[in-house]
Symmetry: C2
Subunit: 196 residues, 2 copies
């Protein structure tokens, strides 16, 4: 027969607790005991749903990934700023420390990190790659720039600072400043910006 159905609320609580603790302490320091305690459930309840700690973490990350903040139209400059703003906003939520946690996992738990890269990071990168390619085709970005170089330039700076200085050390204007710096370049004889 059917019996008592599983509590969807417990599912949510477990996933939330898992992500929160991940961001606070990292994979190796999160215990199933701690997850259960924060979620307000018994350990057995977790193991009834996921076979192992690894499986729980992977699934939790996959579930709570925000959908693309998508399809801003307008000048490429504004689109890029919007994307970086989105990243900054996410970093300031509880899940903010998840990225450095996964960077650490590239060392301590490569399969987990690879899963994160392939499932979470890569789709977003692909979207951005598409965006940059389009901008190049429309003459909004300089020809001859490697698409991946451009993306790394734009993302790397923000992420580097976020990871090492923390979200609170990055002010709201940072994304715009970085995008403008990347577009205009650091050299003195800057190319004519559109309109000038």
């Amino acid at each position: 027969m059917t019996g008592r159905p599983r509590s969807a609320q417990a599912d949510d609580a477990i996933v939330d607790a898992t992500l929160a603790l991940l961001g606070e302490q990292g994979f190796d320091r999160v215990s199933m005991d701690a997850v259960a305690a924060r979620a307000g459930v018994a350990r057995a309840t977790i193991y009834r749903r996921w076979p192992s700690k690894e499986a729980l973490v992977i699934d939790a990350v996959a579930r709570r990934t925000d959908p693309f903040p998508d399809a801003v139209t307008g000048p490429i400059r504004d689109q890029l700023v919007s994307i970086l703003d989105g990243i900054l906003a996410v970093s300031r939520t509880g899940a903010g420390r998840l990225l450095p946690c996964m960077v650490g996992a590239t060392v301590s738990n490569p399969p987990l990190a690879e899963h994160y890269r392939a499932q979470i990071l890569e789709p977003r990168r692909a979207r951005m790659r598409h965006l940059v390619r389009n901008a190049v085709a429309h003459g909004e970005l300089r020809r001859g720039v490697d698409v991946d170089d451009a993306i790394d330039l734009l993302l790397g700076a923000l992420l580097y600072r976020l990871v090492f200085a923390g979200p609170d050390a990055v002010d709201d204007g940072e994304p715009a400043r970085l995008v403008d710096a990347a577009l205009k370049g650091l050299a003195p004889t800057s190319p004519p910006a559109s309109g000038s």
Copy 2:
């Protein structure tokens, strides 16, 4: 009396083993047993020299940090490429995975990460800041660029790729390409055909 002196060779072996394992597995997964085994010493020999695992790791990192690859003269472009080349070279040695390991430590072990940032990263950044400031003063870099933004732009891109793709996924020409892209900027060299 003097007695038997401590073996300096053991010191080296322990520090080397510590750094190697750190880069391979991360702080939390390195056990004193493993360090002792790889160094070919007994655990007691380690504890005779360092009071704890934390102390060992901190000291090991401090000891084996390469001196600045210093004072390249010439155009700022070449100096920057040289610096990024140096970073890439270090990343390909055994200590290469130490950086992502420390990024992970910002989550799982903040004091350790902060020590790394302050003692290892910050001096190098200060050196680079000085370099950039000079270049701006000499008109080699555009005025009005925030110095830290410029540094993050240059370093972030390389580190981002190194961390997530691994040192082997970055080819030798990457530093030069990134520096050139950052200097020249991503914007087109002629005004875009707006509205197209």
